[in-house]
């Protein structure tokens, strides 16, 4: 999962950097890249949180199974990672359902013109944006403008600021903001709960659709 996303991000980054693209397509692809990176960060975050919570995990009472499953003997509890993965699949499922993200990325876009890619990226943009705004409040890390001159103290937070270029050993670090950065000030992700059900359903990003009648 993680690997797949990393590869996709890299491919996308490569397209952004090396292929000549129309400005609006370029912008949309940028958004996609941010979304993808967001998913990756999330995955990591969840894994980390999961590890934190592990010692308490045993105390969580078993989720009350639904009526029909009540009499069935309890299956082995799913591995903790499975739940985290299921959460990410559900977020991806949401990006697919609303913004067709997986459809878009799984397609080979080479044969299509920039015009065609532009039209389609509207679909992806509108939908993924809706999902993103529902799940996060996103603000720039640096509240000023790009190209602002900034000075960072010696104890700056390396998670909040990344220094690039010719960086001296000692502060002060003087520089210019290249990218304002993004941070999530509210996170409200779809949650999955432990279940005794078959875990195959949790690997479905989008079900196959069959029209009846």
């Amino acid at each position: 999962m993680e690997l797949l996303l990393t590869i996709l991000s890299l491919v996308l980054a490569k397209v952004l950097l090396f292929l000549p693209l129309e400005p609006r397509v370029f912008q949309l692809l940028q958004v996609l890249l941010v979304v993808l990176l967001g998913v990756l960060v999330l995955l990591k975050l969840l894994q980390w949180r999961r590890k934190e919570a592990r010692p308490e995990a045993k105390e969580i009472p078993a989720q009350k199974p639904l009526e029909s499953a009540k009499s069935a003997p309890l299956a082995a509890a799913p591995a903790p990672d499975a739940l985290v993965e299921a959460g990410v699949v559900q977020f991806l499922a949401r990006l697919q359902e609303k913004g067709r993200l997986v459809d878009f990325l799984m397609d080979d876009i080479t044969p299509y013109s920039n015009e065609q890619v532009g039209v389609v990226s509207r679909v992806v943009h509108q939908g993924c944006r809706e999902v993103l705004r529902g799940a996060f409040d996103i603000e720039p890390v640096h509240s000023g403008q790009e190209r602002d001159a900034v000075v960072l103290a010696g104890d700056f937070d390396a998670a909040t600021f990344r220094l690039v270029g010719k960086v001296p050993d000692q502060p002060p670090y003087k520089g210019t903001v290249l990218h304002r950065g993004w941070k999530a000030t509210r996170i409200s992700l779809p949650r999955v709960t432990e279940t005794t059900r078959d875990s195959a359903a949790r690997k479905i990003i989008a079900p196959a659709e069959v029209e009846v009648g």
């Binding site: 679909v123 409200s188 078959d198």
Partner: protein, 616 residues
């Protein structure tokens, strides 16, 4: 037990919401997010709970693993909220929607499992409008208890003042059903409040005491509430008594099934026709996506007047986005002609909505507005408010300064307007209504009162009102019943073939009868035979403010038949089958529900008249 919470519930036609106000005099009402399914596998939280119920397939239930943070109903009985709406849009046969509008539909028994309407599901799988309302209210109650739990409140401490909002236009049968649904959902005794008043209470609360500077005695405020699927109008008069401002709700309009969703749908139809004109076909699924894009486009164009068009891409359902994506755009001229001039045309005060033609044999469904022009509905409301308020000295005094006449129509022109409902986030729609009112007012401007939360004002305002009730302080809008109620009396005359005897109606509840008061019908005894079921026809009116209890009037077209009432007197000892004289008493309870009682004066015994559920 001491009540510790003030809770407001907006049970909407398309979306519901839940708000909590802290018990002290300070502090803002806050909306509690509602956990709901986001898919069969996951759960998320949203401020609004879409008021829809999806009835899933057996297989869907088997593979589902999502569980709400509380012990909810099994999925077999359906699921509520965001995912229910998304999933149901693809399978309309399994989606219960607009249950609230069905509660006040005169042709359907609200306790019969008739929804989804026109669905091929078996009756056992369907839900009644009443059951659906109970489901939404129960989901909200569980969300509320869950929120308290997260705040570390002990379980079972849920004692609060609960206010549920209903449209001002709901008749008493629909009000009683809503009240009973809240009880069945575990909320206990709730107080009912008109949605439009709730929006007004929120405006007062968020003005932070400054509202007194924004209105003056003699002012009339129009509350213009257009939601997703409905439109409602109310008028509130501002007066002064001993130096203190008083508020009184003087008129309410009909429940109009017309709202923002109709606008999105109209835009989507227009764009589809354009696409088809160009030889491009789109299927049902694409049409749903087109409606959604039209909504976003409408909001974007209304929010930014510099934008001339909003590009729209409609993907096909296939996994290959490139194969079938259709591209079009919502141009400003389409938006203006369809939404502004279609729904809010510049019409005169004398232009009223086209009346629905009554056909002999008509398949009834929801009584959607036949005329989409909201301006005409508004003009009709203002003219009718004049007629209604002239019947009593109090009301005509309150509106006296605002009576106008133009094009041969007498009407009431408000001095200020409070908008409510998500549609009015679009400034051009508010401006158009202000322009209409100013025009009807002979050029004198009508003030717009600043609203800060078009979507959630009703829930928050209900919480504010709940707190007012809890604390016993804060301003209240004097309102009372929005309608007057009548019992039908067949007049005795010789039978003539082919001619129905004229029906007389006797007023049992006057308009504006206040909560916590009782009236008795003077000098009118009914002779009831004990041990038999007796039925009365029951009528109501929103335009007969002048009728007092006991007034006998012709049942003309001002009256709407809302239900029938029935009462069965148990046989009195030793007097089986005897006719006994009883008098009629009407009570409006503190909670805002109406009760009618038959009392046998000599013995002091009394029996309650029950609403006979509607429908053939």
């Amino acid at each position: 037990m001491e009540k510790r919470y003030a809770v407001g519930i907006d049970l909407g036609t398309s979306n519901s919401a839940l708000a909590l106000a802290p018990a002290g005099p300070e502090g803002r009402a806050e909306v509690l997010p509602v956990p709901q399914l986001f898919s069969f596998q996951s759960v998320g939280e949203l401020d609004m709970l879409p008021s829809v119920l999806y009835l899933p397939l057996e297989n869907e239930i088997r593979s589902a693993a999502a569980s709400l943070p509380w012990d909810g109903e099994p999925l077999q009985s359906g699921l509520v909220g965001q995912f229910a709406r998304e999933q149901g849009a693809l399978m309309p046969d399994r989606l219960v929607a607009s249950a609230k509008s069905w509660l006040c539909n005169p042709h359907v028994n609200p306790e019969e499992p008739v929804l989804p309407w026109n669905s091929d599901l078996e009756a056992g799988q369907k839900a009644s409008p009443f059951q659906a309302s109970v489901r939404y209210l129960r989901h909200l109650r569980q969300a509320f208890e869950h929120a308290l739990e997260l705040r570390g409140e002990p379980a079972g401490s849920m004692t609060g003042e609960i206010v549920v909002t209903v449209p001002a236009s709901f008749d008493d049968v629909a009000r009683a059903l809503t009240h009973r649904a809240a009880q069945a959902a575990g909320w206990g005794e709730v107080t009912l409040l008109e949605e439009q008043q709730a929006a007004f209470y929120y405006w007062i609360a968020q003005s932070g005491g400054k509202w007194r500077d924004q209105v003056r005695p003699g002012d009339l405020v129009l509350i213009c509430d257009v939601g997703g699927g409905t439109a409602d109008f109310s008028l509130v008069a501002v007066s002064e008594q001993a130096g203190v401002l008083q508020l009184e709700r003087v008129s309410v309009g009909d429940h109009i099934l017309l709202g923002g969703d109709n606008m999105d749908l109209a835009l989507a139809y227009t764009l589809r026709a354009e696409l088809e004109g160009g030889g491009q076909k789109i299927d049902n699924w694409q049409f749903l996506s087109l409606i959604h894009s039209c909504r976003i486009g409408k909001e974007a164009l209304f929010a930014d007047s510099a934008l001339s068009a909003f590009p729209i891409a409609v993907p096909s359902r296939s996994a290959s986005l490139f194969a079938g994506t259709v591209s079009t755009s919502l141009r400003r001229d389409i938006l203006d002609s369809v939404v502004l001039n279609g729904f809010l045309p510049r019409t005169g005060i004398d232009e009223h909505p086209a009346r629905r033609r009554h056909l002999g044999l008509k398949e009834f469904g929801l009584d959607y507005a036949a005329d989409p022009a909201l301006s005409k509905h508004l003009a009709f409301f203002l003219a009718r408010s004049f007629k209604n308020t002239q019947a009593t000295e109090n009301l005509s005094g309150l509106v006296a300064r605002q009576v106008r006449e133009a094009q041969g129509v007498q009407f009431i022109c408000p001095t200020a307007i409070l908008f409510n409902g998500g549609v009015f986030k679009a400034a051009p729609l508010r401006e158009r209504i202000l322009e209409l009112l100013t025009d009807w007012n002979g050029g004198a401007a009508v003030v717009e009162l600043p609203e800060t939360d078009f979507d959630l004002a009703v829930a928050k305002g209900a919480a504010v009102y709940a707190r007012t009730r809890l604390m016993g302080e804060g301003i209240r809008i004097k309102a009372g019943t929005a309608r007057s109620y009548y019992i039908g009396l067949e007049s005795s005359m010789p039978a003539v073939p082919g001619i129905m005897p004229p029906l007389k109606a006797i007023c049992v509840v006057p308009q504006g009868m206040e909560e916590g008061s009782e009236e008795s019908l003077p000098g009118q005894d009914f002779g009831l035979i004990t041990g038999e079921l007796v039925e009365f026809r029951f009528f109501s009116s929103t335009v007969r403010a002048g009728d007092r209890v006991g007034d006998l009037i012709d049942a003309d077209e001002d009256l709407e038949e809302t239900a029938s009432l029935q009462v069965a007197l148990p046989p009195l000892e030793g007097r089986e089958g005897a006719m006994i004289p009883v008098t009629l008493h009407s009570v409006v309870t503190e909670l805002g529900t109406l009760e009618l009682w038959m009392r046998h004066e000599p013995s002091g015994r009394q029996w309650k008249l029950e609403f006979n559920v509607r429908g053939e």
